[in-house]
């Protein structure tokens, strides 16, 4: 049986490193996607997650609702990403943009196509607002429902739906034929 967040938090507070690691592992993807949504760069998103995880463990005693650890962790990640974003904007005059990463040489047409599609998607996502990116990544990539997104990102469900709708419209307009559509789950 899977341990609840509340029970893992209780054990981590008593110094159980395995419980702390299990908590971070459980929420890693969401934390990473939120950081990526905010910063648009994978290396920066990793750094922010690392800082936020450390801060979260240091302040675990401040988590008032251990059952909602995920929401609490994401708020730390978003703050850390926000601060990091300010720092990066001060350092650079170039607009913040999602980078496709290093493109692998086109050893096969299929791989080249996938790389191109990925690069196009990153660029299109880079033109959305940070909150739109977070919502569309959590909903369409992670499969979260609006209730979950609303709870974790501390926005209303209506706002989550609105951001998803706007994000999809913009992505579809930017991606054209690339936008492969699937039935919705909520």
């Amino acid at each position: 049986m899977t341990d609840s967040d509340a029970s893992l938090v209780a054990r981590a507070r008593q110094g159980d490193a395995a419980a702390a690691e299990a908590l971070l592992r459980r929420h890693f993807r969401a934390a990473y996607l939120v950081a990526l949504g905010r910063l648009g760069n994978r290396a920066d998103a990793e750094d922010v997650c690392q800082d936020a995880f450390m801060r979260c463990l240091d302040r675990l005693h401040e988590c008032r609702e251990p059952a909602r650890f995920g929401a609490w962790l994401l708020s730390i990640v978003r703050n850390a990403a926000h601060n990091r974003g300010d720092y990066l904007r001060i350092r650079s005059t170039e607009p913040l943009e999602l980078h496709p990463g290093v493109r692998s040489p086109a050893r096969a047409d299929r791989a080249a196509e996938r790389n191109e599609l990925r690069a196009t998607l990153w660029q299109a996502l880079g033109r959305l607002s940070p909150l739109q990116r977070e919502v569309v990544l959590l909903h369409d990539l992670e499969g979260w429902r609006h209730a979950e997104i609303a709870d974790r990102l501390e926005v209303s469900e209506a706002m989550s739906r609105r951001h998803l709708s706007d994000a999809r419209k913009q992505l579809r307009a930017m991606l054209g034929d690339y936008a492969s559509l699937e039935p919705d789950h909520d």
Binding site: F53, M54, R118, L175, L181, E182
Partner: protein, 98 residues
Amino acid sequence: MTDYSRPPGRIDLRVLDEALDPSQADRVIHAALRRRAGHATPWLAAAAVLLLIGAGALLTAPRRAAPNEAAGLIRDWTVARHVPTNGELLAAFRGYQP
């Protein structure tokens, strides 16, 4: 008025997943845990040094001194990972005459 309850169809973002490094979670989580452990080390080292100094002073002190109070304080500091200020050290050892 826009009906947000029926958003445009879902966009397939799975190709982004292929770019995520499977070892990424391990790397980030272990680095955070290592860094956190590293943060705690200097505090523990400082506490250990204080404990040794305190214990040494107590062991070499004549019995007429009353070091119990200072020893208790040092123990409390160590447990709380508190590095005492000069003022706190002076206050703790006040009246202590080796």
